[in-house]
Amino acid sequence: MDVNVLSEKENVKSKGPGEDFILEVKNLKKYFPIKDGILQKTVGHVKAVDGLNLNIKKGETFGIVGESGCGKSTAGRTIIRLNKPTEGKILYKGEDITKASENQLRKSIRKDIQMIFQDPFASLNPRKTLGKTLMEPLEAHQLYKNKKERMDRVKELLDVVGLDPSYFTRYPHEFSGGQRQRIGIARALALNPELIIADEAVSALDVSIQSQIINLMKDLQEKFNLTYIFISHDLSVVRHISDRVAVMYLGNLMELADKDSLYSEPLHPYSKALLSAVPVPKKKGEEQRERIVLEGDIPNPANPPKGCVFHTRCPVAMDVCKEVVPTFKEEKPNHYVACHLYN
């Protein structure tokens, strides 16, 4: 919080406390209009992301967990400007990219920030060979002098992600799910990015393949000094790969902390419920963990509850929760939470 307030008060261009962060997101909002009727008038807004603040340190893996509809994917897409933000600021290395044009973006972040998607098959062109797909970004950014150099680079990339360079001429349908995700990673790496946003990158994979991809991502991070934003609904995977973890609910952060303190001592009732709900393989003699089963579903983001957005499902909701939005503040060192229990 203190860092947020400081850098907000100072000028955006200042090289103050923001210098340590590769990415800063300030009060980011993304509303999608709901249109209805013959004239397609806007009758309301889906508040997918509603006032998000994040600071991503260079070289860390920042995990974002949440259930479907909490806005975690929209947040990821808005950060790299695949969506136009409704409000707020996005600073990449201190540079404001919130309102940058496509042309400016291409010069600045398009190369530096890349994305890995959940379904690698849907994100690969079925009519292009693997080589063509991977050479395209190199051509678009005119990084290499001639085709030969570009081909060499692609073959190098394939090697890096553990694919045989002879796959160059194959089509996406010839690969298994795990191999396709490796291709997705190779594509993301092609331009030597600094920040990679992985949106449910391992969720569609079988467990044995999932662990291969997670290990690969960890190795690449070390090798190329990458920063990851790892978005997932799978709490165990996020814990495994992340340094810091943020819990999102209905467009807002509920809690943010180092992974160890978040998983061992969650503060927010939602984080507690989320963690207790994960089924875990039990070993002999292990106690049955106490489970908090939340009632009902995540509310409609077009019409979020007043006050704390979680109060409708919260087992310990108080009167104040229905009226007042809790502030997101540092309860313990580096452990932030938005809950009235701690105010």
């Binding site: 259930e67 795990g178 467990v207 709900a277 994960v278 089924p279 070993k283 002999k284 579903d297």
Partner: protein
């Protein structure tokens, strides 16, 4: 405990132009009354095809049960005509699927779909079927059941749809419920609700569950016994309280070790190298040999058999063959 389902040497093959794909290749499986057994495996292991074989829903043309028996008490399901099978399906055995939206009819209300099942199998009139439908919806946790029966599926959330599917599946008090990845498409908090519901229902209705999943966590929540499948075959069978502590088959061990934990004590995940072999080009020896970290000469040459190690455990691996010979 009385046995409810007894599958012997089930073989479900797919006949393609050039290949024969053995999706299920000699599966033996027993399920007792009131028991919950989990069938675990990765995509392509044949777990879903086993369940479709039980339901008589093997995709045709192409797929066929070529060998084996599926006994539900004293009826052999593989010999039933389609008409007879229709009477079993939904009444004796019912199934819930991963994606509840695709298994609900979008142009019929929830009530109409539930009433259809109840009138078809129980021969009751519409009014009492509606009553029963409301009662079922209340059992699966809808507080506004009278309103929900007039709603269309798209108005419900994923978790609510899965509840409707469960209500429909339980409507005729089936002896066996096949749950194929019932919570995979759901969020963890909703998954917890559905698992809780399934647990309570089996107690209440004394239904056996064949749970098909790839999620070992879900398995340990619900099942009493685990059967691990790989490339169309059962590779290991064990009670739930032993398998995580002492897996026998290297594949099971690999699976358990490759899942990250919530406590996070592992630095680097174990990974089973390579991919599941394509079912049209299976190796001569053990089907797991190319990915196994304990492979030796015999594995590449001979095919191991499923051997019982104790009265509750069996494994398909040569590592345990030798041990027995030594003893």
């Amino acid at each position: 405990m009385a046995s409810l389902l007894n599958i012997e040497n089930l073989k479900t093959y797919f006949f393609q132009k050039k290949h024969v794909v053995p999706a299920v290749d000699g599966v033996d499986l027993k399920l007792n009354k009131g028991e919950t057994v989990a069938l675990v495996g990765e995509s392509g292991s044949g777990k879903s095809m086993t369940s479709l074989s039980i339901m008589g829903l093997v995709p045709k043309p192409g797929g066929e049960i070529v060998d084996g028996k599926i006994m539900l008490e004293d009826i052999n399901l593989t010999e039933l005509s389609e008409d007879d099978m229709c009477k079993v399906r939904g009444k004796e055995i019912s199934m819930i699927f991963q994606e509840p939206m695709t298994s609900l009819n979008p142009v019929l209300t929830i009530g109409e779909q539930l009433v259809e099942v109840i009138t078809y199998h129980q021969g009751v009139n519409r009014a009492s079927a509606v009553e029963k439908a409301i009662e079922l919806l209340q059992i699966v946790g809808f507080s506004r059941a009278e309103e929900i029966i007039r709603d269309y599926p798209h108005r419900l959330s994923g978790g609510m749809r899965q509840r409707v599917m469960i209500a429909m599946a339980m409507s005729c008090n089936p002896k066996l419920l096949i749950a194929d990845e019932p919570t995979t498409a759901l969020d963890v908090t909703i998954q917890a609700q559905i698992l809780e519901l399934l647990k309570n229902l089996t107690k209440e209705f004394d239904t056996s569950i064949l749970l098909i999943t790839h999620d070992l966590g879900v398995v340990s929540e619900l099942a009493e016994r685990v059967i691990v499948m790989y490339a169309g075959e059962i590779v290991e069978e064990a009670p739930i309280d032993e398998i995580f502590d002492e897996p026998y088959h290297p594949y099971t061990e690999g699976l358990i070790k490759s899942v990250p934990t919530l406590t996070g004590e592992i630095e680097r995940l174990y990974s089973i190298k390579g991919n599941v072999p394509s079912p049209d080009s299976l190796p001569k020896g053990c089907r797991f040999a190319s990915r196994c970290n304990k492979v030796f000469g015999r594995c590449l040459e001979e095919k191991p058999q499923l051997k019982s190690i104790s009265n509750s455990r069996s494994v398909r691996c040569f590592l345990y063959d030798d041990e027995e010979e030594v003893e």
